[in-house]
Symmetry: C2
Subunit: 454 residues, 2 copies
C-alpha cells in the first residue's frame, strides 16, 4: 500500500541503487509493487539510461500504462531511446485513444515504423483515430467498447462481456439498432441485476445526447458535466456508433481548458506546449504581441499628458501622481474583468442577470473609489498641505476607478457577443485601456482644478 | 433525445404556457421526457411559483435529482417555498452526500425539521456526514456502498449486489477484513467475469491509497487524478471503511479550486460564494484590501519621483513617459508570475527545473525588453527629435522589463516556500511591486542621463 504522502525522495535513492549492475532481480521486485502512476513519476525523474533499464524490467503492459501517464516531453525523451520494436510492443498494449495520443507525439519516421508493426486491426483503428482533430470528440474517443443489438437478451450481453472483459474496461454496455446506430446504453449494474431472458430493449436507458466525432472537446466536456456521465458513445454522420469517451479523458480536457484560460488571462496566446517548452523565440512570439498593446497605450498616455502641458508643465507635482491613478484603475479594472469572465464561465453570470451584475459591480467600485478618494485626499492634504491638490487627485482617482471598473465588467460580455474569447481580453488589454482612460480623466480633472492649484 | 444545442428559450416559452391552470396533464408529459439536469435548468429560470408547480408535477426522486443540480442560491430560494414535509420527502430520495450538501444550505429551523422527518438510519448517517468539514474527504463521501467480507465468494457478492442495486449506484464493490477494515476493491466487470465459487480475495485488487475522513479535498482530488480512479473508499482512524467518494464529486472539487485560483489571480480573497452574492459590503471586503497595496505602491512611486525633482521638475517631459514604464513592467511581470504559478500548479515546473525555468524566462524577457527598447528609441527620436531622450527611456524601459520579469518569476516559488499561496500574489501585489521598481529604475537612469538631456 502506498501512503498518499509517498516519500519520493527516499524511494528515488533506493531506485537509483537498484539500477546498479547485478541487482536486476531486486529492481524487478521493487517495481512490481508500484502503481503505474508511480512508475511514471520515477521515469520522469531518473536519467534516461536508468529509465530505459526500468522499462526493460517491467512488462510491456505496465510500461505502456506508465508511459501514457508521462508528460509529452518525457514521452518524447523515452521514444528516442527505445528501439522501434519495443516501442511497437508497448503501444500495442494501450487502448486505442492512448495509443493514438502517443503516436501523435512521435516523429514521422518512428510513427510509420510503429504503425507498420501493429496488428492490422489495431493499425486501422489507430489510423482512423489519427484522422480526427485532437480537440474533437473523435480525438478523445477510443474504439474499444462493448455493443449489443437492441433485440438481444441480458444473458447474451453477459456472454459478450465475458468475451471482451480481457481487453476492454467496461462500465456500461452500448445498445445499437440493426444498422449499428447508437440507441442507448445500460449500466453494468443493471445488467447484473436483470433476469437473463429479459430483452435488452426493456432494460436499457435511451441515449440522452448525440455526440458526433467532429464535436469540439469543450462541448463534450460540458455535456459530461451537465448530465454527470461516466461515459458517452460517439457516432458518425449516419448515427452509427464508432467509439466511446470515458470520464477520465474529459477530466483532462477540463484541466487543459483551465490551463489555457489562465495563460490567456496572463496575456499570452495560450499554448501551454509552447509556453512551457524551451523554444525561446516561440515563447517571445506568444507573449510579445500582447505587450505591444500596453506599449502603445503607454505612448498614447504620454501624448495626452504632453498635450495638456499648460497644466502638467507648470504644476509638475500633478504628474508624479500618475502611477497612483494608472495603478489603481488598472487593478480595479482587472478585478472586475476577471470576476466577470470567471462568473460567465461558471454560470454565476448569465444573460438574465447581466445588467444586475454590472450595476452591482459599479456599486462596489463606487464604494471602493469613494474610500480611496477620501484616503488620498487626507494623505495629500496632510503631507503636502494642499487641499486643492488633494481634491484634484481624489476626484480623478475616484472617477478613473469607477470608469475602469465599468470598462472591465462590460468588456467581457461585449467581446463574447462578437465571438471573441473574453479571457484573452482580461490581461494586458484591459490594463492598457484603463491606463489611457485613467490618464485622460486625470488630465480633464486637473484642467478643471487648474486655477485652484498652487 | 436532447440535442446538445438544446433550444432552451423556445422550451422555456412552452413550459411557461404549460404552467397555466388546466394544463397539468400536458405539463407532466413534457417534464417526463426531460433529463433531471434539464429540469434544473428550467427551475433556475422560471418564477418561484411556477418552479413550485414543476416540483409538484414530478416525483420526489426526480425532484431530488433536479434540485441537487441547482446552484446554492436557487436551492435556497426553493427551500423557502417548499413545505418541510415535501422537502423531507425529497431529501430522503437523495444519496447521503447530496442530502448532506442540501441540508447544509438550509437555515437552522428547516434543517432540524427535515432531519427529524428522515428515517432513523438515514438521519444518523446524514448527522455523521454533517460533522465533517465540507472541504475534507468526509465532506465529499457518501455512505451508500457495497462492501463484502474478504473471505466471501463471487456468487455471494453478486447476490449482495442484487439486494443493494435499487438504492446504490455500483461501479465496484469494496472488500473489508473481519474487523471491517478496507482491504481492497473489485470492479463490477471482474466480478461478472469471475467463476461464482471463486473467493473474493483471489480476484480483488488490494487498496492503493488510504484516505481518511479528515483528508483535505484537494489532496483527495490529486489522488484521483494521479491514479485515474473512478471511486475510492474512505476510512476512519482505525482503517474501518466508512464511505466512498466517486469521480463526479471530485470533478466538482477541481472546478471549485480552479475558480478560487482565478479569483485569487484577480486580486480578491477568493470566496466565490461572496464575490457572486448580492452582499455589496462583503464584496468590497474581498476586493479592497488587495487594492490598498496598489495604492501605497502608487504613493511610494510618487514620493520617489518627487525626491528626484532635480531631474523631473526640470525635464518635465521625462515624467510623461512614466505610464509607458509602469504599464510595461506591470504586464510583463504579471505574465511571468502567472506562467510560473500555472506551471507550478500543473507540474510543468518542479523544484528540479526551477532554476532553468527562471533563467529561460529571463532570456525571453531580455529579448522582449531589447525589442521594446529599440522601438521606443526609434519612436522618441523620430517623434521628438532627441536621441538622448530616446536612449534614456529605452534603457530604463528595457531594464525595468527585465527586473519586473525576474521579480514576477521568482516571487511565486519564494512565496510557496514560505507557505503562502502563490496565486494570491500574482494580482495586484506583483503589479504594485513592479510599478515601484519600474519608477525606481527610471529615476536612476534619468539621473545618469541628466547632462545629456535637452
Amino acid at each position: 500500500m502506498l501512503e498518499s504522502t509517498r516519500n519520493f525522495e527516499g524511494d528515488l535513492d533506493e531506485l537509483e541503487a537498484l539500477t546498479q549492475p547485478g541487482r536486476e532481480a531486486d529492481l524487478s521486485v521493487f517495481l512490481e509493487l508500484l502503481h503505474p502512476a508511480d512508475v511514471a513519476e520515477f521515469l520522469a525523474r531518473i536519467d534516461s539510461s536508468k529509465a530505459l533499464l526500468v522499462v526493460d524490467r517491467i512488462g510491456h503492459e505496465r510500461a505502456a500504462e506508465a508511459i501514457s501517464e508521462l508528460d509529452h516531453d518525457d514521452q518524447e525523451r523515452l521514444f528516442t531511446l527505445l528501439e522501434p520494436k519495443k516501442l511497437t510492443a508497448i503501444v500495442g498494449e494501450l487502448e486505442t485513444d492512448d495509443a493514438t495520443d502517443l503516436i501523435q507525439e512521435m516523429d514521422e519516421a518512428t510513427r510509420q515504423q510503429v504503425l507498420a508493426g501493429l496488428p492490422v486491426d489495431d493499425r486501422k483503428e489507430v489510423q482512423q483515430l489519427l484522422s480526427y482533430e485532437p480537440d474533437t470528440a473523435g480525438g478523445l474517443m477510443q474504439t474499444e467498447l462493448v455493443a449489443v443489438p437492441i433485440e438481444s437478451t441480458v444473458s447474451a450481453a453477459l456472454e459478450h462481456i465475458r468475451e471482451k472483459a480481457e481487453e476492454v474496461d467496461i462500465m456500461s454496455i452500448f445498445v445499437v439498432d440493426d444498422l449499428g446506430r447508437y440507441a442507448g446504453h445500460l449500466a453494468l449494474q443493471n445488467l447484473v441485476v436483470a433476469r437473463p431472458p429479459t430483452r435488452i430493449e426493456q432494460v436499457m436507458e435511451p441515449k440522452v445526447v448525440e455526440v458526433t466525432a467532429n464535436m469540439d472537446q469543450e462541448e463534450v466536456a460540458r455535456i459530461f458535466d451537465r448530465y454527470s456521465l461516466v461515459e458517452l458513445g460517439v457516432v458518425d454522420q449516419e448515427g452509427v456508433l464508432i467509439g466511446r469517451i470515458t470520464a477520465d479523458d474529459v477530466h483532462e480536457v477540463f484541466l487543459e481548458e483551465a490551463e489555457e484560460d489562465v495563460l490567456k488571462l496572463a496575456g499570452t496566446t495560450a499554448e501551454p506546449e509552447v509556453i512551457y517548452s524551451n523554444r525561446i523565440f516561440g515563447i517571445v512570439g506568444q507573449r510579445l504581441p500582447w505587450l505591444i498593446s500596453t506599449f502603445f497605450a503607454g505612448l498614447l498616455a504620454m501624448w495626452i499628458l504632453n498635450q495638456a502641458s499648460m497644466v502638467f508643465h507648470t504644476k509638475v507635482i500633478l504628474l508624479t501622481f500618475v502611477p497612483v491613478i494608472t495603478g489603481m484603475s488598472g487593478n480595479v479594472g482587472t478585478q472586475s474583468a476577471m470576476i466577470m469572465i470567471q462568473g460567465m464561465a461558471t454560470g454565476h453570470i448569465a444573460r438574465e442577470n447581466l445588467g444586475w451584475v454590472i450595476s452591482r459591480d459599479l456599486t462596489v467600485a463606487s464604494i471602493m473609489a469613494l474610500t480611496c478618494g477620501v484616503i488620498v485626499f487626507a494623505i495629500v492634504w496632510a503631507w503636502l498641505g494642499n487641499p486643492a491638490l488633494g481634491g484634484c487627485v481624489a476626484i480623478a482617482l475616484a472617477f478613473s476607478m469607477v470608469t475602469a471598473s465599468a470598462l472591465g465588467s462590460t468588456e467581457p460580455p461585449v467581446l463574447k457577443r462578437f465571438g471573441i474569447d473574453p479571457a484573452i481580453a482580461a490581461g494586458p488589454l484591459i490594463t492598457s485601456i484603463n491606463d489611457v482612460s485613467g490618464v485622460l480623466i486625470y488630465t480633464m480633472v486637473s484642467i478643471a482644478f487648474l486655477d485652484l492649484l498652487p
